[in-house]
């Protein structure tokens, strides 16, 4: 349908797409999608106003998974918040751990040994592989390709989770980073297993791309769908692959250069159109770059301690101060804002979740598209409700 029709604005308040009212179009229909709907990636609800099949208004409703994360963080010790950060974005516990550890290290002025920094980079890039692989699987699931791409993705994800399990003791709730280093050193043979996985991942990506990238159905469902302009992305504070798919070269690994990222040679893939297909492609290309980083890190990782000898586990009281620290998580900028008053727990603890802030543009992306496309667009934004609701 064309949106240049000189018809009145849709009746829904705040709607910006014109709804057509003639003998072929009835009244607007309001549909509540979720909170328990397989397409909403958890307990998330979209109040969608439809004109026929076209979305004219979309109101995201969330908070069903709110667990008081930030208030709990103000009442437990600094160390005690570390396992809770696993449960923010439960696919990427390693990067959540790192972001939080980085904030506390900044607050306490702690240094991290070289081997621990390398391990952090390795684990963060493995997490990025894991997250983007799953995202591609879920996106295809949302397109209606039930099963095959998701199961292929989960098969590979399981190999990374096995690595996490043999290192940290848990597949998803890793709780691995500590203030001033990492909890345990890699067991014997772990680095070789990681090297083997890294070397084999490229051929999996080749297979996965042969399955998907040139697929006409995927292209028809995603190209030109949910275009995000660079201007809107920047003004809405969108970060991560969404922003880069819109063509903005902003990657905190390059911008901030935290950790040891300046030591590695990698490129930042950018999209040209900002549509759903670009968001898929940017993630695939990012995985290829992650493999390059992993190969360099696994080649260069030195022997040595993994923990700052001055680090204190119990009775940890950083001096009064305020920090904001951020890293490039797989979903975008994940940051922690901490205010210390010198006590054993932070006075203020606040998370900047990439999923929540990326979700705010959902309506802008969906307007004018059909309700089936809204599901695909939501899938391409890559949200985890544990992080949105906290």
């Amino acid at each position: 349908m064309s949106f240049s029709d000189p018809s009145p604005l849709s009746a829904a308040p705040g709607a910006s797409v014109r709804a057509v009212h003639d003998e072929f179009h009835g009244d607007l229909l309001e549909v509540s999608m979720g909170p328990h709907h397989p397409s909403t990636h958890g307990v998330f609800r979209m109040m969608v106003t439809l004109d026929g099949e076209t979305v004219v208004k979309l109101k995201p409703v969330f908070g069903y998974l709110h667990r008081n994360h930030e208030k709990i963080g103000e009442n437990t010790s600094y160390l005690g918040s570390m396992p809770y950060t696993d449960r923010l974005d439960y696919l990427c516990s390693m990067t959540n751990n790192w972001a939080y550890a980085l904030a506390v290290e900044k607050l306490a002025g702690q240094a991290v040994p070289e081997r621990a920094e390398y391990l952090r980079v390795i684990l963060a890039e493995l997490t990025r592989l894991l997250n983007h692989t799953c995202l591609a699987g879920f996106l295809l699931q949302d397109c209606g390709a039930s099963g095959t791409p998701l199961m292929y993705a989960f098969r590979e994800r399981e190999k990374i989770l096995d690595l996490f399990e043999s290192l940290s003791g848990s597949r998803m709730m890793c709780n691995y980073q500590r203030f001033g280093g990492c909890r345990v050193d890699a067991p014997a043979g772990w680095l070789d297993a990681a090297r083997a996985l890294t070397d084999g991942y490229g051929s999996f990506l080749d297979e996965y791309e042969a399955l998907l990238t040139g697929n006409e159905i995927l292209m028809a469902r995603t190209q030109g769908i949910g275009c995000l302009s660079a201007k809107l992305a920047v003004s809405a504070g969108v970060t991560g692959p969404l922003l880069r798919a819109a063509g903005v070269a902003y990657d905190l690994r390059k911008v901030d250069g935290y950790g040891f990222y300046p030591r590695f040679d990698f490129r930042v893939p950018l999209g040209a159109h900002g549509d759903t297909y670009d968001r898929y492609m940017v993630r695939v290309l990012e995985m290829r770059e992650s493999i390059r980083i992993l190969q360099q890190a696994l080649r260069d990782i030195p022997a040595g301690p993994i923990m700052d000898p001055k680090a204190k586990l119990r009775g940890f009281r950083p001096k009064p101060g305020e920090v904001y620290s951020r890293i490039e998580g797989p979903k975008g900028e994940i940051g922690f804002h901490l205010i210390s008053e010198g006590g054993p727990n932070p006075y203020r603890y606040r998370v900047r979740p990439p999923s929540l802030i990326n979700l705010t543009i959902l309506e802008d992306l969906c307007l004018g598209h059909s309700i089936a496309d809204a599901v695909v667009i939501l899938g391409s934004i890559d949200i985890v409700l544990g992080e949105v609701d906290r």
Binding site: E165, G169, R183, A210
Partner: protein, 215 residues
């Protein structure tokens, strides 16, 4: 050509389908209740209490009820009551012991912080995961009798870590014995001399120094 991408994708699925019959790389499923994957050494599930002797688990618990784990546990799933009396521990020293030590595994989130903060190596992570119970309250609330497992069991689960812990404890015990012997010798020397010297240090030096709980 329109459709070539689809055909290429179908070739991939066909390769995977055929491969799932003969290619060991594609045998990824474990038939769980019948076959089980080997757990990695680092795997953790819920905590248990280490006792030195399997014959007398309650008498030889390493735990001295210092309550640090209770305080540090993020979801507060540990409940400890100190004993009124003292019992000799594994090294023969008189120690307080936990009269009550409960862990609510329905609350526990397997974060391992209790293990990390314990200065006595008394609490470690178990690997048992088939813990379904028919009663959600009593079935999942483990008391100290259910939690106590011998050191040999710890060696079975985490051989590397257990060997390290045993080495460390043996070194500490040896150092404490040397110190006690030196102190006894100093005392004997002081007793032989006229009482002009300052009073000797206590004969028994605390084995591992009890750490005060963090405020």
């Amino acid at each position: 050509m329109l459709g070539s991408g689809l055909l290429q994708g179908l070739a991939v699925t066909a390769k995977n389908f055929v491969g799932s019959f003969h290619d060991p790389k594609r045998f990824v499923t474990t038939q769980y209740p019948e076959e089980k994957t080997r757990l990695p050494e680092a795997y953790r599930n819920f905590p248990f209490l280490v006792s030195e002797n399997a014959e007398d688990p309650m008498g030889t618990l390493r735990c001295v009820a210092c309550q640090i784990c209770e305080k540090e546990c993020p979801p507060q799933c540990i409940y400890i009551e100190k004993s009124k009396d003292k019992k000799p521990d594994a090294s023969g020293k008189q120690q307080i012991y936990p009269a009550v030590f409960d862990i609510d595994t329905a609350v526990c989130m397997s974060c391992q912080i209790c293990v990390e903060v314990c200065p006595f190596d008394a609490i470690k992570m178990d690997q048992v995961f088939e813990l379904a119970a028919t009663d959600r309250f009593t079935g999942l609330m483990l008391d100290r009798h259910a939690l106590a497992k011998p050191n040999s069991y710890f060696h079975q689960l985490h051989p590397t870590e257990a060997a390290e812990v045993d080495d460390r404890l043996a070194t500490e015990r040896k150092a404490a014995e040397e110190k006690a012997r030196a102190a006894a010798a100093a005392k004997a020397a002081a007793a032989a001399k006229p009482p002009a010297v300052p009073p000797p240090p206590p004969a028994v030096v605390p084995l591992p120094p009890p750490v005060p709980p963090a405020a």
